[in-house]
Amino acid sequence: MKILVCISHVPDTTSKINFTENDSAFDSNGVQYVINPYDEFALARAMWFKEKQGASITVITVGNAGTEPSLRKALAIGADDAIRIDAEATDGFFVAKQLAEVAKSNGYDLILTGRESIDYNGAMVPGMLATFLDYNFVNACIGVEIENNTATAIKEIDGGSETLSTSLPLVLAGQKGLVEEKELRIPNMRGIMMARKKPLSVVAAIETEATTKSVRFEKPEEKSACKMVAASDIDGLIDLLHNEAKVI
């Protein structure tokens, strides 16, 4: 089985979110970048297939040279090779088109992505990618088994889960549940050494129009101070929630 894992290179979850250039760009000053947490679950599940059922794993990202540490990390975890599509990822539609182009020529059986990126939270690349490739697609995937050409996937739905039956080739947008948190992989020394010798190819982006454009960022307004209520004054709290906040 040939697996492609799509990696988004994002600011880590504790990063301070600030903007520069008149609020038109994200301020990456002092920001630590990591593999998107959802993509880590996808990669760990890919490793499970590789070890248990036999599979090759390619990791791919659309980004500039600055995103390569995330690809190297994925190689150190155990991916076999990496591809960087050399372009600024400014629009999910654009990213999906780029990924589709490479996927089309290399022919993967299974494409694993995260449910959404934790920076722009688009939740759009996986569904668009599947549509451009005309592959089957399962969103919000919390479990998958593959037997020959058939896949059984579990999808999270509002208030529960749903079991789906489908077939390869397949795009899965995954999250926790694909593997448990404790099964996430941390690269070891040997992996890191080996990763240096694994192929990381850089391919040029294809011409395609962006469909959206970021105009400006904005930070939420400073919150007004928290109103403190004494632990002995539960009636006071109920009164505030009823008469002031009007939520009960």
Binding site: P11, T13, T14, I17, D91, G92, F93, I118, D119, Y120, N121, G122, A123, M124, G127, M128, A130, T131, N136, F137, V138, N139, A140, T152, E156, I157, D158, G159, G160, S161, E162, L164, S165, T166, K176, T211, T212, K213, S214, V215, R216, F217, E218, K219, P220, K223, C226, K227, M228, V229, A230, A231, I234, D235, L237, I238, H242, A245, V247, I248
Partner: protein, 319 residues
């Protein structure tokens, strides 16, 4: 020209999110000076949408669309969008909405903005405000394609009544079942889900152990609320993973979020920031959650919450 909303029905009935996209769509149709068209699939009371501003209601009642199939639904939306020459297509952020919207956008070659929280600030160029960085910031995004797809964030616009006379029309889609089929559904019935709840009661490690969750459940019951928890609580197996909220869990956009024994770590806050009113109950006055909350009580959950439950019961009986 038209604005098309997909008003999703669940077991025939419209959820809050469906009425919200219709209300929101009406506002955009007014901005653009065009008609609001609502698409429904197997809804039992499609006419209801006229009360929220739909001027034309398109009804698909096909057996092959009885159970939700994302690609099939997306194709139906695309067909109607083309037929109605829609400039803007609006979809909610339920789990099904999030599943179909990117497929619709790709099929229509349309720019898609998800997590949108307001009507366009300008229609020429078409610019919307969306949440980004897990609620830590907003982005003003310009959609430059002829057809625009908007994913409306939950509970961001509200439901606005706007009584209209609507025409109704049946439509038969050519969409066929996709290669993904449902074999089992595992859904607790009659329970309020985090996604739909107006009120969410959430517990953290401060509650000490799963045996104390009766407090959370009882409080939730009085308020008709959904229950949630912090990440360590689900990691420890005290509560199911589906209740884990935060940046790497479920997002919460309720009217009221009550956090009990939760410290307010940045990753937790990121997921619940979109809630309108936040109440925190914590023994530690220095807990970071107090900086993010609207109302706070410094106190022991085991003393405060039982009192709150009792007093709320009295309040509910009188209101």
């Amino acid at each position: 020209m038209s604005v098309l909303v997909f008003a999703e029905a669940s077991e025939g009935k419209f959820k809050k999110a469906a009425l919200e996209v219709v209300s929101y769509g009406k506002k955009i149709a007014e901005q653009l000076g065009t008609e609001l068209v609502a698409l429904t699939i197997n809804a039992s009371n499609a006419s209801e949408l006229a009360s929220y501003g739909a001027q034309k209601i398109i009804k698909v009642t096909q057996d092959n669309q009885e159970s939700f199939d994302a690609k099939c639904t997306a194709t139906t939306i695309k067909e109607v969008a083309l037929k109605e020459a829609a400039d803007v297509v609006i979809i909610d952020s339920s789990s099904n909405g999030l599943y179909v919207a990117p497929i619709v956008a790709a099929q229509l070659n349309a720019g898609y903005a998800s997590n949108v929280i307001d009507v366009p600030s300008s229609t020429q160029p078409f610019t919307v405000k969306r949440k980004a960085f897990s609620n830590k910031a907003f982005n003003h995004t310009e959609i430059s394609t002829a057809v625009k797809v908007i994913g409306l964030a939950k509970n961001s616009f509200g439901i606005v009544e706007n009584s209209t006379t609507a025409t109704e029309e049946d439509f038969t889609s050519t969409a066929t079942a996709s290669g993904v089929s449902s074999t089992a559904l595992n859904k607790a019935s009659g329970q309020v889900t985090i996604a739909d709840a107006d009120v969410v009661v959430s517990g953290g490690r401060g509650l000490k152990g799963p045996e104390n969750w009766g407090l959370i459940e009882d409080l939730a019951e009085v308020l008709g609320a959904a229950t949630a928890c912090s990440k360590p609580v689900s990691d420890l197996g005290w509560r199911p993973h589906a209740e884990h909220v935060g940046q790497t869990g479920k997002p919460v956009a309720s009217n009221l979020y009550i956090a009990i024994g939760i410290s307010g770590a940045i990753q937790h806050l990121a997921g619940i920031n979109a809630s309108k009113v936040k109440v925190v109950i914590n023994t530690d006055p220095e807990a970071p959650f107090f900086k993010a909350a609207d109302y706070g009580i410094v106190g022991d959950a085991f003393e405060v919450v039982p009192q709150l439950i009792e007093k709320l019961k009295v309040f509910k009986a009188n209101n």
